[in-house]
């Protein structure tokens, strides 16, 4: 960890300078997820100088690191101790940072079974709109003192403050991992997944790429072997899940705009123009389409879900909010970032 450096003083100074000169900031790490959300202008605040794992005790199942720490470095430290980030975050680029992981809240294929990025956040240090470096949550599994500002930060796209440090829950890697490919159509796959979901099977990822159902089994040797025998299909390389997580499957290079649809798991097949890939056992659908964004968001909302555009330059990449929700979100933004310096407009024009 030769690059470890505590740059919190410099970050604090830049934020205070921005507050004093009423200059909006555009927070960025490696830029691996810069295409997500609305375009913002502002002075660049680069988090990458503030990096390094601050503490990691494998038996406590907690790792704390500065926001600019590369995810790859964190994953390597965990790997050396046979542990992992259970939420399997998407990197979407070589230099992806911990701060970006939390700010975008993007979880990988294991999410329905192991929880989201937000679920695994235990504590944060945040530079606030008042120009202070504050600490919320902590390094313990259970902590209900005060409001849960740490989990609120997850998925807030840097609009509520600057993440300086994050403590996350980690887990031991499963003893056995095995992936299967079952030649069934998407409808049949969704029905089977609904049925299996009610049973104690060691499934930890489930995706249908248009051609076949892909399953990952994780657990002890006994349960994985028993499930493998029961479920049938052919064994495939576990690399499929990383390809999916990193959007490197052939599906993602097809033409059209990429959308992420988050839906109730039991939504059934989805009737929208374009090509689809099912993830999260049905609760997440990737869509490649040329269809109008408003149409996609309308269809998704009708099913109780929401749609996010994964292409840059969209006016409304996130699903519009109901009026009272938008009002309270704006009030929250105004309270935490009264001068509106943190990534203004990155999620919605109004916040």
């Amino acid at each position: 960890m030769s690059h470890d450096f505590d740059a919190s003083a410099a970050l604090l100074e830049q934020v205070n300078h921005a507050l004093n000169s009423a200059t909006p900031l555009r927070i960025q790490g490696s830029g691996s997820k810069a295409h997500l959300g609305r375009a913002t202008t502002g002075e660049v605040l680069d988090t990458r100088q503030h990096r390094g794992i601050v503490s990691y005790d494998p038996t406590e199942l907690v790792l704390s690191a500065r926001a600019g720490t590369p995810l790859a470095e964190i994953e390597a430290a965990l790997e050396a101790n046979n542990q992992m980030l259970p939420c399997e975050p998407s990197h979407l680029g070589d230099g992806a940072t911990l701060g970006g992981m939390v700010a975008t809240g993007l979880s990988g294929p294991r999410r329905p079974w192991a929880g989201s990025v937000r679920d695994q956040v235990l504590g944060t240090r945040v530079i606030t709109g008042q120009g202070k470096l504050l600490r919320f949550g902590g390094e313990v599994m259970k902590n209900v003192a005060g409001y849960d500002l740490s989990r609120l930060m997850a998925g807030s796209f840097g609009c509520l403050g600057l993440l300086a440090e994050v403590s996350i829950k980690v887990l031991p890697k499963p003893r056995q991992v095995l992936s299967l490919r079952l030649e069934v159509d998407a409808l049949h796959a969704l029905n089977k997944l609904a049925e299996w979901g009610q049973q104690p099977l060691p499934i930890s990822a489930a995706s249908h790429d248009g051609a076949a159902l892909h399953l990952r089994l994780e657990g002890g040797e006994g349960s994985v072997l028993a499930a493998r025998q029961r479920l049938g299909g052919e064994e495939i390389d576990n690399g499929y899940w990383q390809q999916l997580r990193e959007q490197r499957l052939p599906f993602f290079s097809a033409s059209g705009t990429l959308w992420r649809l988050s839906l109730p798991a039991n939504s059934g097949l989805l009737d929208v123009p374009g090509r689809q890939l099912i993830d999260w056992g049905g609760a997440q659908r990737w869509l490649k389409t040329d269809a109008d964004g408003e149409l996609i968001q309308r269809v998704t909302a009708k099913l109780g879900g929401h749609a996010t555009c994964f292409a840059a330059g969209q006016a409304q990449p996130f699903q519009p909010l109901a009026a009272p929700l938008l009002r309270y979100q704006r009030q929250l933004k105004n309270q935490l970032d009264p001068q509106g310096i943190f990534n203004p407009g990155r999620m919605y024009a109004e916040v």
Binding site: D57, P58, T59, E60, G115, R118, D119, T128, Q130, L134, R135, V140, M141, K142, V144, A145, G146, D148, L149, R151, L152, A154, G155, S156, C159, L160, L171, P172, R175, A194, G197, Q198, Q199, P200, G220, E221, S223, L225, A226, S262, L263, P264, A265, N266, G304, G305, H306, T308, P320, L321, A322, P324, L325, Y328, Q329, Q331, L332, N334, Q335, L336
Partner: protein, 499 residues
């Protein structure tokens, strides 16, 4: 410093004309059940933290959500504080009423609206009991994971407000990890849905923010929880140790071996003896500490893990390791732990239950610190510990009829929590701040952090009418609390250097 609402340090409350309010409520909400006489109000003067009591101005018991909405609109217009209450089992005084406020009892909303088998969720009203959800899901072999020890009585609305835990948190998470959607009414009486039937929602994660917000940001009107398939099998190992340090280290060893138990509990000698006298669970009463380790899941894995854990425990110096022979013995092992609180209640006229969390590695030092405090204050302390997730429940034994003992119990309790904060932990793992730990919040958070908490509150309830005085102390209170320490001429933590 007293924890009852003190307008001098907690802020002035609006003056409300009770008679006029009663007339207006009856006029506007003719079919709403309202309690207003002293004898009717009496049963509502406290929640599970029964050492502290305040008679509410009025108690209302709505049966339709529209009544709650109308009530909130009226209270908002008239500036009347509202304290929401579910089953009233909370241990931190989160539902402690206000003399100048209405107590809004949500317990009559006790309908399970939907159990969805394919979607694996349950949609319920806020007054539904925690255990009732799992019972309703049982025919489908599904269950709701968080299991606070009050689960037979506590309601899901309260669980959301407190972010309730239980003995299975390390593996299955807290309430916040098991919610899909919460419908709330804002202080202005406006409906808002947080979360969704999908696994995430657009915008800021208000579901995470509201979970554990202790009724300060909105009133829960409906909850959709995730259901999980029931584990095929559960086995329990009981291990005895001749020192708490060894038991504490064994917990870390189990996790280092890559095993996440469904439950991992520790009890010290005083707790073991009290439980054994009461339940006859077969606990080794000579042991300084016991660990209960539950492994659940698919049968083949559980059998493997039992062997692994046994090896780890023996290597860690356990004097005895027993696997519950059958389901009856497993239930018996747990019964001792689950009845540890009432068991302690049998050996002491009163007890005071703490709820601090610590990084597990700090356990030996913190237990030593508690033993020293126990001696210093002349009160016995029994230790029960959710060892897997670092959540301690020291039980302070005292007699409220002996003058000064309650105050001493409060004082040592406060010291124990400050000790937890000092080693990197928290003053509350699952019981909430409420009024009980309002002073210790000043030890865990600095004034800038507390100011930011008030800013969050102001975003949702600028006039401060929802559950005033709970969860977040005023800076004025913290100043007084700090001043008190100085006044006694003591550093807050003179004993800490040695941890």
């Amino acid at each position: 410093m007293s924890i009852l609402y003190d307008e001098r340090v907690d802020g002035a409350l609006p003056k409300v004309d009770k008679a006029a309010l009663l007339v207006e409520l009856r006029q506007r909400l003719p079919d709403l059940d309202i309690l207003h006489t002293q004898e009717d109000l009496k049963p509502y003067e406290c929640d599970g933290l029964s050492a502290y009591r305040t008679t509410p101005m009025l108690v209302v018991l709505p049966e339709r959500i529209e009544q709650v909405q109308q009530l909130l609109k009226l209270c908002h217009a008239r500036g009347v504080p509202v304290v929401a209450r579910g089953a009233g089992t909370g241990l931190s005084g989160g539902a402690l009423p206000l003399e100048k406020g209405i107590l809004l009892v949500m317990a009559r909303f006790n309908q399970i609206l939907e159990i969805n088998r394919e979607g694996r969720f349950a949609r319920v009203q806020p007054g539904v009991r925690n255990l009732a959800i799992s019972q309703a899901a049982a025919p489908f072999d599904l269950y709701y994971a968080p299991d606070p020890s009050s689960q037979i009585a506590c309601s899901i609305g309260g669980n959301v407000a407190e972010n309730a835990g239980g003995v299975h948190c390390l593996k299955y998470g807290l309430t916040v990890h098991n919610l899909l959607k919460v419908d709330i009414l804002t202080v202005e009486g406006e409906f808002m849905t947080l979360g969704s039937d999908a696994l995430d929602s657009p915008g800021f994660d208000l579901l995470a923010l509201f979970t554990g917000s202790e009724g300060m940001l909105g009133i829960v009107t409906e909850v959709t929880v995730k259901l999980l398939p029931k584990p095929q099998v559960a086995k329990v190992l009981l291990a005895a140790f001749d020192s708490v340090e060894k038991a504490g280290r064994a917990v870390g060893d189990i996790i280092a071996a890559g095993i996440i138990p469904g439950g991992l509990e520790m009890m010290d000698n005083l707790a073991i003896r009290a439980a054994e006298d009461f339940i006859h669970a077969g606990y080794p009463v000579e042991a300084e500490a016991i660990l209960l380790c539950e492994l659940d899941g698919v049968e083949a894995d559980v059998a493997d893990d039992c062997e692994r854990v046994r090896e780890v425990l023996e290597k860690a110096g356990a004097t005895e390791v027993r696997l519950a022979r059958d389901e009856a013995e497993r239930v018996k092992f747990w019964a001792g732990r689950k009845n540890a609180f009432p068991a302690v209640g049998r050996i002491s006229p009163d007890y005071y239950c703490m709820d601090g969390t610590i990084p597990r590695r700090e356990l030996p030092g913190v237990l030593r610190g508690i033993a020293e405090l126990s001696e210093e204050y002349g009160l016995r302390v029994a230790n029960v510990f959710h060892a897997g997730d670092g959540n301690m429940h020291p039980l302070i034994l005292f007699d409220a009829n002996v003058p000064g003992e309650l105050e001493r119990a409060e004082a040592i309790g406060g010291k124990i929590l400050e000790l937890c904060v000092k080693v990197g932990g928290s003053i509350t793992g699952e019981h909430g701040v409420g009024r009980e730990k309002i002073n210790q919040m000043c030890a865990q958070f600095n004034s800038d952090e507390i100011t930011l908490f008030h800013a969050v509150k102001a975003a949702f309830d600028p006039s401060g009418l929802l559950n005033p005085g709970k969860n977040i102390p005023t800076l004025h209170r913290c100043a007084e609390f700090g001043a008190m320490h100085v006044h006694h001429g003591q550093l807050p933590f003179p004993e800490l250097e040695r941890f």
